[in-house]
Symmetry: C2
Subunit: 173 residues, 2 copies
């Protein structure tokens, strides 16, 4: 049975995006094309960006929006940008061009109400049944978890930023 | 404050090795050299191996042992191989050649008693204080967690293999 999986990486811990990046590169290692869509601008920095460049014929990388911060003063504008970003993701999923489509930090759009979850889940349920989709971010809403095939929670057991160590190149970013 | 971190990815869920792979590639994206040592032979397959090849000047990839299965009939031989593998890891950590050294699936050697944990932790405590080390695997022993700076538990919330979907190329391997 070959089935496109809806995969969610959620939780407060580290590794949600990093594991999705590893998955994207592993798929690319197989020669399988991946579309990686980043919904929160600025969450990726030089290291990741340079890394995906080594796979540029296989990993399509896109940054959406003008930088959702989920603290906007202009909720209407945020909702409009979120709609646009989601429409772009739908196109990538519908295109059939990608083995996997990663919606990185997408959960925030749902959690902060910038997008309605019901139409999103309906779209995902209707997608090509062999299409893999990976969604990352904290606060994955319960209906998304219910709809997903594989859900991993990254739990923070210990974090050095809590003991005064600054974020470091090649580790935190 | 620049401090070499001891990072542990543990738990029953997915993403422990994949997040370490993502970290290795992100560091390589910064031009920082990484040594990735796999302690369980055969846990990596074609996708990962081809992916790291794209970073071959920056990611040193090594497979240790003859395939620890932690079900061996010959515990003495296992312990000897585990010692050899650990000695190799110590050399990589001591060399100063790597920004990050990843000990992938290393926890099993500790958990199954193939290696004594105390000398391992003593070595790690004495390492160059700027050296980052990432250890992955289930069953991270409590003293390792206590010694670590950053610990993430990957918790399985839902897994498709439990509902009859087979492992798939580019997703599971």
């Amino acid at each position: 049975m070959t089935k496109g999986l809806l995969i969610v990486h959620t939780g407060e811990g580290k590794g949600k995006t990093t594991a999705a990046l590893g998955m994207a590169m592993r798929a690319a290692g197989h020669g399988l094309p991946v579309c990686f869509i980043q919904f929160i601008k600025g969450s990726w920095r030089y290291g990741e960006l340079e890394a995906v460049k080594r796979f540029e014929e296989l990993i399509d990388f896109h940054v959406m929006g003008k930088g959702f911060t989920w603290k906007s003063e202009n909720l209407e504008e945020d909702a409009r940008l979120a709609q646009e970003a989601w429409a772009f993701a739908c196109q990538a999923i519908d295109s059939g061009n990608f083995h996997t489509v990663v919606l990185d930090e997408f959960t925030y759009l749902l959690h902060y109400g910038m997008l309605d979850i019901e139409p999103c889940l309906e779209f995902l349920a209707r997608r090509n049944p062999t299409q893999h989709v990976v969604i990352t971010g904290r606060y994955a809403p319960e209906p998304l978890i219910a709809a997903a095939d594989l859900v991993t929670e990254m739990r923070m057991i210990k974090h050095p930023l809590k003991s005064g160590v600054k974020a470091q190149k090649g580790i935190e970013f």
